[in-house]
């Protein structure tokens, strides 16, 4: 108590400051390193500038005598002085954490990475190792396939699509062209359906009205099967007209390039499979031809269904 009485307020403040400084200086480096190493980004240790040997400077105190005190080179508590310029040229931009300890792959390896993924590169030794030079980039092929389902154009198909390097406008044009082809295909099918429908109905009702007695009348009575009627020429006419119409349809579809393939699951499956097994592509024209035959056969069955429907509706009068 006598000590505190003998000291002035200024001296008390000075003593407190010195004690604080001494405390900080004692463990400054340890505290700094604890903060730095708590994360994983910085692995180096540092030394606190507070631990450096302080320079001496003259500080005037309230008395006339000049007293020399020790002041640290960097005073963290002195708000009046600007901090010293710190040379940061030695510190570069911190590197992002790397998992394998190596730099991130450059952009030109991206294609090689994709090739490895899809097995088109020899590095994996996969089935795509023998990919021919003429094959398109598999990524571009995949994009084309997703857009159109037909990376190679198909039998009698549209002009070869540009690769993905040509940018968005070309793919937009191709998408519109596909839309146009799909519309034309539907239009052709609709026109031929109308023609088949009208000819079948006309043929049916001609024979319905012109056949003798009940020769062309369906009925729910089983007795009708016991009668013997002269054969009507209905089915002969039906087959003749059907062959003509379906042959015309097949010729029209084959000779045009209206191939909209994006609805067909089989063709999409072939496109996907050809990315892993390129030899599948050689069967594509055959499969396209078989699909077109199947379509024509489906039309014939549809017309037979129409005949069944007409017989069923007229059985009410039998």
């Amino acid at each position: 108590m006598s000590m505190s009485d003998s000291l002035t307020a200024d001296e008390k403040r000075r003593l407190l400051r010195e004690r604080r400084q001494a405390k900080m200086n004692a463990k400054a480096t340890d505290r700094l390193n604890t903060i730095l190493t708590s994360g994983s980004s910085v692995k180096e240790t540092a030394s606190s500038p507070l631990d450096k040997k302080p320079t001496t400077t003259e500080v005037p105190v309230h008395s006339d005598a000049v007293r020399t005190v020790s002041v640290p080179a960097v005073s963290l508590r002195d708000d009046d002085d600007d901090p010293e310029d710190v040379d940061i040229s030695a510190h570069g931009t911190p590197q992002p954490p790397s998992f394998a300890g190596s730099a991130p792959p450059p952009a030109e390896d991206f294609d090689a990475m994709l090739n490895k993924l899809f097995g088109a590169g020899p590095a994996t030794g996969g089935p795509g190792a023998g990919a021919a030079d003429g094959d398109a980039d598999p990524f571009a092929m995949m994009m084309q396939m997703l857009n159109s389902g037909d990376p190679s154009g198909g039998a009698g198909g549209f002009p070869a699509m540009a690769n993905g390097a040509e940018g968005v406008p070309d793919s937009s044009y191709q998408a519109k062209l596909q839309q146009y082809y799909a519309y034309q295909q539907r239009k052709t099918k609709t026109v031929f359906f109308i023609v088949r429908f009208i000819t079948t109905v006309v043929n049916f009702f001609y024979h319905y009205h012109n056949s003798p007695e009940n020769a062309f009348q369906a009925s729910s009575q089983a007795a009708i099967r016991q009668f013997e009627f002269a054969k009507s020429g209905f089915f002969s006419w039906f087959i003749t007209i059907e062959v003509g119409i379906l042959a015309t349809y097949f010729f029209v579809v084959s000779s045009t390039k209206y191939v909209a393939n994006d609805g067909n699951l089989i063709l999409k499956g072939i496109s996907m499979a050809s990315m892993f097994l390129p030899q599948v592509q050689q069967y594509r024209p055959l499969i396209l031809r078989l699909l077109s035959y199947w379509e024509v056969l489906g039309m014939f069955f549809g017309d037979v269904a129409l005949i069944t429907l007409l017989f069923g509706l007229t059985s009410y009068f039998g």
């Binding site: 044009y173 519109k176 146009y180 089983a222 099967r225 009627f229 269904a305 429907l309 017989f311 059985s315």
Partner: protein, 219 residues
């Protein structure tokens, strides 16, 4: 039980499959929306016919609340919060209260709409699916009609008699297949002629900067 005439079965199945195809073409969601709109207009017309009734439909109440909210918002935007704080606060409280009421009413209406949609879905299922399955089980061996002998060749008659019916007869399986085939073709034809947009051939833009005309007509 269920001893129906063959033509009755035939015609019933025709109606069921026709309605099923039409529902498929229009879309179940569109039908539900249509029914909901009719229900709302029926509810509101019932209220307008009797304005003295205090039992307003939720839709009319919601419309009133929304118009009140709009007027309060307009009034509040004209009032300065600094100059007329008390009035602004009062309007703000009314605004928040109305918003809360609208939210509750919206939820009630959404629940109502979901209930209507559910019932419509049940009706569509009952009308289009159950009769088909019942018929397939109950009438699978019923001969709906016989084709006149000589009209069709024997191989065609044999195929059309599959799977349970003697040659020359037509059973439910083939009848359903025929109906589905013809009706779906007719519906897609009608859709293409009356509802599909015409697509013209696109013209590729030139690379030298000249812009090609893109004649995409939409009718």
């Amino acid at each position: 039980m269920l001893d129906l005439q063959p033509f009755t079965i035939l015609f019933t199945i025709l109606l069921v499959i026709l309605s099923k195809q039409i529902v498929g073409a229009i879309g179940k969601k569109n039908i539900e929306k249509l029914v909901w709109n009719k229900y709302c207009s029926w509810k509101t017309s019932g209220t307008t016919k009797n304005p003295a009734s205090s039992d307003d439909s939720p839709i009319i109440k919601l419309a009133k609340l929304k118009s009140d909210l709009t007027s309060i918002k307009a009034e509040r935007s004209k009032v300065s919060a600094q100059d007329q704080y008390a009035k602004w606060t009062k309007l703000n409280r009314q605004h928040d209260k109305l918003e809360a009421e609208i939210k509750v009413m919206n939820e009630a209406i959404v629940q109502d709409e979901q209930r209507i949609s559910k019932y419509v879905g049940y009706i569509i299922t009952i009308a289009t699916t159950i009769p088909i399955w019942v018929s397939r089980v109950w009438f699978r061996k019923t001969i709906l009609f016989y084709v006149p002998p000589g009209a069709l060749p024997y191989p065609v008659e044999w195929v059309l008699a599959l799977p349970f019916v003697p040659t020359g007869g037509i059973g439910l399986t083939i009848w359903m297949f025929s109906l589905n085939s013809v009706i779906s073709s007719l519906i897609s034809t009608i859709q293409f002629i009356f509802f599909d947009k015409k697509v013209s051939k696109p013209v590729e833009e030139k690379e030298n900067g000249k812009v090609g005309k893109e004649s995409k007509k939409i009718q």
